[in-house]
């Protein structure tokens, strides 16, 4: 409960911070401080030292996993703000409001990590989404930003509608909004598993969740929105928000997946393969790195979906590890990218010569995204694949996945190529020493996790 309340309050605080100071940097500092507080609050909660007790009537419940995941998300946000605070200030004049919205989003993600029942799921997703519509449109004079925001909004609302219909059908079948996973059919009835109404509801729910985590064929909003949104918020959306969405997705179907019976795996395989296919293949021919990353984030989602394919311990460890690896790498790389004025591949030509630190860090992030061994990304993918193999059967889907991973190497390494092997003079924004140190530290963290993933996982079982 701590995180929800604190984030809400801090959101309000940030909102008002704009009144008291006109210095954007001060606002950023406030935000950083606030994030530290939030992180502290959540940690206190997760270690059970101090937590605000509220009777939520089983609408929310806080378990280690959720709190831990939430901690990851908040920490990621902290890193995000530390690295990209400058860019947030550059988006527009309403810096304070942007931070406020970010905190409201965090409130939403917290709900998504602790919801217990479809009502809170619905509220959490909305609380998370509505600020994002605005952040996407934050560059008011930029038509792309407007367009992205409107598209995001319309399609988001539509998917909400789908989700609600799903919830309604589920309610009709079961008479409750709990994530029961109980079949309403009496055992006497022939087919075990979900009744038709229930199944329809679950499928609609599944579709809307796929939409939220941008899994094909419900991913279409992602490239446009990520491309149009201010880059700094793209990095926020592509990482923290998406991860939260995934956690919710997994949580919803943890109990209910079984109800759909064998066809559940079929549906999921379709979605996984489609996602990997679309994400990787389309990313190959992008000219803008930003858009390429949008597609690659779709591809990464494809890998994360394996956690749903195989609900086992490795899947949960994997999704945690994946979230960490993916968030860190993506945030880091976006931070590097934002130092470059031109987001096309040629824009990065000769970056290695211009700023070795940036180029090196960027390379590490990309290697991690590509899942090269001895980076965090490798173990993330490794756990996902391993969980599937462990769950048994379906070696073909794993093989397909690794082939697509090979494709992903293609476009990630194209960036490395332009940074290292191509001649050019990239025009850069001014780069502070602190920033360099920051990205290098982040790279170091990624490599450390890559060598000893257990340090992340062991924390899970404190």
């Amino acid at each position: 409960m701590n995180a929800i309340i604190v984030s809400a309050i801090l959101g309000v605080v940030m909102m008002f911070s704009g009144i008291f100071t006109k210095h954007k940097s001060t606002i950023t500092l406030t935000a950083i401080a606030a994030l530290f507080i939030l992180l502290g609050a959540n940690l206190l909660n997760s270690y059970g030292i101090f937590s605000i007790q509220v009777n939520t009537h089983e609408l929310l419940y806080f378990n280690k996993l959720g709190l831990y995941f939430n901690t990851i998300l908040i920490a990621a946000t902290l890193i995000f703000v530390l690295l990209s605070g400058k860019e947030i200030e550059n988006v527009g004049i309403n810096t304070a409001e942007y931070y406020a919205l970010i905190f409201f989003v965090l409130c939403g993600t917290t709900i998504l990590t602790s919801f217990n029942g479809l009502l809170m799921l619905f509220l959490g997703i909305e609380i998370m989404s509505i600020p994002l519509y605005i952040l996407t449109g934050a560059e008011k004079r930029n038509l792309k930003s407007n367009e992205a925001s409107l598209k995001y909004f319309l399609m988001g609302a539509f998917s909400t509608g789908i989700m609600l219909m799903g919830i309604a059908l589920l309610y009709g079948a079961t008479g409750s909004f709990a994530l029961s996973g109980q079949s309403v059919l009496p055992p006497s009835v022939g087919i075990p598993g979900a009744s038709f109404l229930q199944a329809g509801g679950l499928i609609l729910l599944f579709v809307s969740m796929c939409f939220k985590v941008s899994a094909a064929p419900f991913h279409f909003w992602t490239p446009d929105v990520y491309d149009g949104a201010p880059t700094v918020f793209t990095s926020f959306m592509a990482t923290i928000v998406k991860a939260a969405g995934f956690f919710a997705f997994i949580k919803v179907f943890d109990a209910n997946a079984a109800l759909l019976g064998p066809s559940w795996k079929i549906l999921l395989s379709i979605v996984i393969i489609a996602t990997l296919f679309v994400g990787n293949i389309t990313a190959v021919f992008q000219r803008s790195i930003k858009r390429m990353l949008a597609y690659s984030s779709i591809a990464q989602a494809g890998f994360m979906l394996f956690a749903l394919y195989s609900y086992n311990d490795m899947a949960y460890q994997g999704i945690l590890l994946y979230t960490v690896a993916y968030c860190l790498a993506t945030i880091g790389f976006f931070a590097v990218l934002m130092k470059v004025k031109d987001y096309t591949f040629d824009g990065l030509n000769g970056l290695a010569a211009a700023s070795p630190a940036l180029a090196f860090a960027g390379t590490v992030f990309l290697l991690s995204l590509a899942g090269i061994p001895l980076t965090a990304g490798f173990f993330a993918k490794y756990y996902m694949l391993a969980s599937v193999v462990k769950a048994g059967g379906a070696l073909w889907i794993v093989i397909a996945a690794v082939l697509f991973a090979a494709v992903s190497v293609y476009y990630y390494f194209k960036v490395i190529q332009s940074m290292y092997f191509k001649e050019g003079q990239p025009e850069l924004n001014e780069i502070s020493t602190g920033f360099k140190v920051g990205v290098l530290l982040l790279a170091a963290v990624i490599i450390t996790i890559g060598v000893l993933p257990s340090i992340v996982l062991n924390w899970l079982y404190f």
């Binding site: 001895l374 070696l395 090979a406």
Partner: protein, 475 residues
Amino acid sequence: MIALLLLLIPLATGLICFGLKQGNAAKHFSLLASVATLILALVAVYTPTAIGYDTAWLSDLGSRFTLKMDGMGKMLCLLTAVVYPLIFTAVYRNEYKNASAFFGLMLLTQAGLMGVFLATDALLFYFFWELALIPVYFLCSLWGGEKRIAVTFKFFIYTFIGSLLMLVGLLYMYFQTADHSFSINSLYAVKLDAAHQSLLFWLFFVAFAIKMPIFPFHTWQPDAYEQSPTATTMVMSGVMVKMGIFAVIRWLIPMFPLATVQFSNTVIILSVIGMVYASLIAIRQDDIKRLIAYSSIAHIGLMSAAIFTNNSSALNGVMIQMFNHGINVIGLWIVADMIEKQLGTRKLSELGGLAQKAPAMAILLVMMALANIALPLTNAFVGEFLMFNGLFSYNIWIAAVAGISIILAAVYTLNMVQKIIYGNLSARTENAIDLPLNVKFALVIIALLVIVFGVFPQPMIELTKDSVTALFVKK
């Protein structure tokens, strides 16, 4: 402990190299480092007992940091350790922009190679497999020829796909093991039915086949060899291709005996086709580097064929040939590099008459060439003899077809020799000079190795006997 050092010295020195400011320091430093490694490797080789190192690593993944040196490991480590000082000596006078990075990456590659040859934990092995690849990617892309980026990229992705497939196979095997561990013994202990074995066999084999490379997975190789900086090419063709063969012997065959029996015919036929095919293409090559590349494909083809003949003496042959081929091909590369550096061309048609200008080079080149066509009393003969013998006992006709490549080898190698050093001087060669001292030194060392191991192959055979017998006990 020695095993660990063999791994750590190149790794540490490589990382230090990046730090060094001016290139010359890096050059000398890396030379020293490689020599140190060589000494260590010699110590390891002359240690009679098996050397190993073992410590906990990814315990919750069932993987330990386990290094072990059997005969084959010792020999390949020795190869890696011998090759590097030679290369560094040979390229001593070459100027590399940003040299410290160059030598750093080279040493990192060495570390990776050592790791591959030492690791007896599958996951560890996989890591080193990749670690050896990445620096090479950067080396080739940064210091290579004009088409380097595309070519290297193809090479990288090609091999990467292979290793990913291998990873899937490893995962599957891991969950089959009784104690959920990646340790080589647990993996050996797994008994799968034929159907699963054949699937997994191919998952692994493709990875190794691409690395070796054997027909038809070879097309990345000539381009990569042609475009890479020669120092890197030497590492690739001298040592890296052995990774594939090594992996087949160390991992593939013991893990999937049934599938090995089932598919040995396919593999052998592929390899033999590759031998003749590559030799024929080599005949028509005008580019020295490509010619050497294709001849290397032919030689590797023979090795991979010999492995699958299920014949112990053939395996002995493979063992020593892994070392000898590494030595010889590096000799050829050094000469090719000299020619390119001096005369600015790799076209045979533009060369000629170097025997008049550079007698020392001519003599050494002829020796390398003779080793390349496996003349008796050169080191290559013994290996090829044993391997052909094994192939013969497997199937006479296959052996006969493969034998054609012996003739073809003579054709293209002598072609090369004739066009380079004999005949009249060409416009490019008339102001050629003889080898510089460092290159001459490296080549003479190689020539001595060629003769010594050609006359006394026995120690090499003895060194690797245990691996051979181990394999045949296992099967």
